[in-house]
Assembly symmetry: C2
Homo-oligomer: 294 residues x 2
Amino acid sequence: MKQKQTIGIIGVGLIGGSFALSLRKKDYSAHFIGWDFNEKESGIALKRGIIDEVVEWEFLCQKSDVIILAIPVTAIVQLLPKVLDLIPENTFVFDVGSTKESICKAVSHHPKRRQFVAAHPIAGTENSGPASAIDHLFEGKLNILCDTADSEKQFVDETKYLFKCIGMETIEMSSTEHDLQLAYVSHLPHVLAYMLAATVLHQEKNEQNILNLAGSGFESTVRLAKSSPDMWTPIFMENKTHVLTAINSYIGNLEVIKNHIEKEDIHQTFSLIEEANKIRRVFNKSEKILTPIN
Amino acid sequence: MKQKQTIGIIGVGLIGGSFALSLRKKDYSAHFIGWDFNEKESGIALKRGIIDEVVEWEFLCQKSDVIILAIPVTAIVQLLPKVLDLIPENTFVFDVGSTKESICKAVSHHPKRRQFVAAHPIAGTENSGPASAIDHLFEGKLNILCDTADSEKQFVDETKYLFKCIGMETIEMSSTEHDLQLAYVSHLPHVLAYMLAATVLHQEKNEQNILNLAGSGFESTVRLAKSSPDMWTPIFMENKTHVLTAINSYIGNLEVIKNHIEKEDIHQTFSLIEEANKIRRVFNKSEKILTPIN
């Protein structure tokens, strides 16, 4: 009789924890073992029934059939080669980091590269830690796999299957393409929200005034500024080149509208806003159209 | 027997329309007459039962007991003096524009200045027009009155009462203070969202990709980019000085984080994000604390 599958989760925070809770919700039969840099957090994960057992990460590597790396991206870059060093030949590892290029590069020459699958489930909230983990975080969202030609097909399929189980469709692209695109639609918005919060907090020392005067528009624009520095500092570092390109192109655009306002150029300002309004079209599309995958 | 009050609404869009609908919902007894630059919109307002009658604006000025100016701010600056010219001595006018300084300045020497009350109910959505008007837009939100010493106390009280009827508390401040503060918590976020939309639409020609790759974070940050150029071009023009100051201070902050990322200064980037995280405190406060007014 085949033994129950063991799933090892390295990093039992919002993403790792929600992954386990989502599989459990679907009655996916597995023994979940977990490890976290922060012992308190693995304790919470155990107590919440996210994992069945807290173990050392080396033990986890040797005993798991599947390993999920759900730690900050710089930590993935550092730990992934060591994880691959330790795993048996039938085990595979996938990460869920928000950048992909430097992670793939870190193991490009590793003898067990084909046992690694680079994933990025596009889901999250501005909260973090196992206390924030929920069992429906991924439902209906999109997962991206990168550079799949470098992974064993069987492991790619098994990874897709796991994401399918928790309600996600998967599309594929190169890690370079991924990092460039995400720099604009995810990493840049985080930079902007952080700096909006910083600007407003610096200008307005009386926080009650911010609350009184700000409409819901401010709350929406600044929402991502609540996101954790533990997660986002590494993302900015690992995707440095594309993030800097995106920030520069954004500052260029700010200078454009600034000049129009300075010159009281009503016509140009109006046109610029009208162009920006086209973003409505994107969100008015009724649903995501997914590139078919096999 | 006292005749039914006549309320004249100049600009029957989202704000003017919602004001009338909100009063009607509270069974406020009045005859609502309206005028709009755009005949089609006044037609919609009539059809939706927002106003009882479409009239010419000059007639509206002569026949109303209360006049609400709910048009773009530059149009308020231009029309308000003419409205005051026409109104009888017991009539008062209040505007609901998002900037206050240039509006107050436009009538500072008008012989009927005391019949004008400068208001800014902080409510709105990214939609506009009478078709978007709703009867609970203002419920639980905050209204600001500016430079009230320049208005007749009786008219200030009556204005507050009308806002109270539609569910708003009122605070008071100077028009200068108002415009400075709003530049940071409202006008700047709009500039940022417009330019985020422009940057992403320019970078990513395939709009389907934006939808597929963007998490809810992008949608939240970019939401205000859907707002109408008819409303926002005038706001940027009327509050030019403060808006430019806010944009410049924001660009300065973007340069700071950019430099930290460029130098891969993990410690400084982390600190900056931690500082920005303090915005959580603002929104965690359970409710708005209102400055008591009489």
